[in-house]
Symmetry: C2
Subunit: 403 residues, 2 copies
């Protein structure tokens, strides 16, 4: 097999941990696999460099930041290659440039445009382990670029896609994806397999493990992604296409998002295009809208409710106030004490009654549901924030996710 | 003027010092000059990385070491560029690769083969300050290389040569080249100008400031080199070609080398080619020979005396013992308690009596001279080590170097 293994900052946090990583890579190699390793900077290193830059400027040039920040991964990559060679595993480190990772020129958050894997392929053919500095690439202009948060994961997924690797393993300090946050429900169980789409919907469960950008790229490139821990040999969670999941569970997991606020607009003027006007203005002000409910009140005027991330609430208020001033809206109200609970599972596509069970579970706990939205594989409910943990535990139990 | 300014590790040792460097570069730019800056890694950084590598292997791959060690200069270069931009000076950082520094592939001690200064020239034409990561280049194979000890100085001199810069300023914590070591003779004076050849002969005086490799390269490329301190605005010492030095001093400086040992061979067989045999064997064993004296003893056999660096003495002994075993030499003796005092000055070429004054100065202090060697611009004497400081002070005074 050809396996891409990615180790994040905590996994290479000090010299002993780098040695641990070398041991694990060496095992994989000695089991007869071809191995490409993608590494992050030692934990704390990137933050240190950012702090250095901020010492000199509150707004450093993004090209210079990329030159600066790309140095941390080079250090880890070369150290790991040295450790592997010392263990008798032939290994060679490569920068993003050398690995053929071509990006656009949006410095500090570049997108990978293309991977030219010739150097990696040649080294693999020579029996070498390839150690790639993650998080970085090179623009068409020949300047080093970085890929933004979670960039090393993107490097790993893109490389796995370019090399048509059998597996892309993302090693972190978390052992996989759980049915829900184990800090809320200790009976949460680790999932063996989950589809890309479920993973995307369960973002909040995997947020600390995998960013949606990486999952989306894996889906696009058809890369089998595994998240697992570098601190034990415990199996992780395979994120793969739905067809690869034999036994499709009705519900795979329960996600909780406390970072939501609700905006309620009452007495929205009943003229064509008013809703589109409001939401266009919100979009132009970079306010992310999640759920939307619209209904007609007793007086014939329209009520609109929607949710936004708490961090976008102030921007949303500014937009709304303009409509209040022009009398297009009669009343506004806001509620930050809400949360969103979501039930996700590919099995919903072919089974009925999943949503009904969610509602009855809430009813049994006397939890009022403010808003509901559904997709093919998800049911989301907005409820009062104080019920967040209770709702998660009740749903986890109702769908027997601990079994 | 086009000025190349090189700042070593202590000059960029922390963020405050990098800001000081930015201030100085900015002054040079604002005075109307074009500026290329070459920086080393922050002091201690390279040693830290080497220690990391040695944690994993006593003999790390040189290609990996270069990948590792080249990261330190990138950090300094980008930080300095950020600081300069913040001060309103347009600046761009460049790696060795981007700056067009092509080397051979002798990793960890590569030699610069060629500089393709197009990117630097373009940036200068746009009014930018160019900040180059020193100590590094790229091989024809496209791999990053490092230039070994003093590598950033070489980068600076080579860049100055390629850009035909008017001046190449090497900033350190020492304010220039002195007539002798001020720790030995407090009356030592800083030289304003000195020729390349004098500087090469005075290596021991400049050893902490400039390596001979850099002076040789400056001579070859006809680069006007200035050594000065980054901690004050004191003028430094200009190292230039002899024609640029109007008033040629009889003696420019007194150098002291305590790292010498004397090898004496008595009763060397009187057959043709024996001396050449001995010195060829020494050369093959990488023993550096400095001074050589040969004379014929009373019994018709030959005596040969030579000096070697103390670190080569054991290798020299091994070679000598083989000749003792084959009876080509009758007796050996060694003396480590010697030193070499040298008087250097381009003015000697056209003046007589310089050497005679040295000998009479030694005689006046009752210092016995063991060996003498002279060149066009130098007189060297081997004396007992215990007289080292006395000899330096007496000569400094005899040639009135404190005036």
């Amino acid at each position: 097999m050809l396996i891409v293994q990615k180790f994040g900052g905590t996994s290479v946090g000090d010299l002993e941990r780098i040695q641990n990583v070398a041991n694990r890579v060496s095992e994989t190699r000695k089991a007869g696999n071809e191995v490409v390793v993608v590494v992050s900077a030692m934990s704390g290193e990137t933050n240190k460099l950012v702090a250095y830059a901020e010492h000199f400027s509150s707004n450093p040039q993004k090209t210079e930041l990329d030159m600066l920040l790309s140095s941390g991964e080079r250090v880890t990559a070369s150290l790991l290659a040295i450790a592997l060679n010392e263990m008798g595993c032939k290994a060679v480190s490569m920068t993003g440039r050398k690995a053929g990772i071509i990006t656009d020129n949006l410095h500090t958050k570049a997108r990978i445009e293309e991977i030219n894997p010739i150097a990696m392929r040649n080294a693999l053919n020579e029996g070498q382990i390839v150690v790639v500095a993650g998080f970085q690439g090179v623009s068409a202009e020949g300047n080093v670029t970085t890929l933004g948060r979670g960039g090393s994961d993107l490097s790993a997924v893109a490389i796995a896609g370019a090399l048509q690797a059998d597996l892309c393993e993302i090693y972190t300090d978390v052992s996989g994806i759980f049915t829900t946050d184990p800090r809320i429900e200790p009976k949460a169980k680790k999932l063996n397999r989950i589809s890309y789409d479920e993973m995307l919907e369960l973002a909040s469960l995997g947020a600390k493990v995998l960013q949606n950008r990486s999952v989306e790229l894996a889906k696009k490139l058809n890369v089998n992604l595994v998240t697992r821990t570098s601190f034990s040999h415990e199996e992780g969670t395979l994120i793969t296409k739905e067809e690869n999941i034999m036994e499709k569970p009705l519900v795979s997991g329960i996600a909780l998002d406390k970072n939501q606020a609700r905006v309620s607009l009452r007495g929205v003027k009943d003229r064509p295009g008013i809703a589109s006007e409001i939401f266009n203005k919100l979009a132009n002000n970079n306010v992310n809208i999640d759920m939307i409910i619209q209904n007609v009140g007793h007086d014939g005027s329209t009520n609109i409710d929607f949710t936004v991330p708490k961090s976008d609430l102030n921007d949303a208020k500014n937009v709304v106030h303009a409509f209040l001033d022009s009398c297009d809206i009669k009343e506004e109200s806001y509620d930050e004490d809400i949360c969103k609970v979501s039930i996700v599972g590919v099995g919903m596509k072919s089974h009925t009654g999943v949503a009904a069970k969610a509602f009855s579970t809430m009813a049994a706990e006397n939890i009022n549901i403010h808003m509901i939205s559904t997709s093919e594989i998800k049911v989301s409910m907005v409820i009062a924030e104080k019920y967040a943990e209770l709702a998660v535990r009740s749903l986890h139990n109702a769908y027997r996710l601990d079994k």
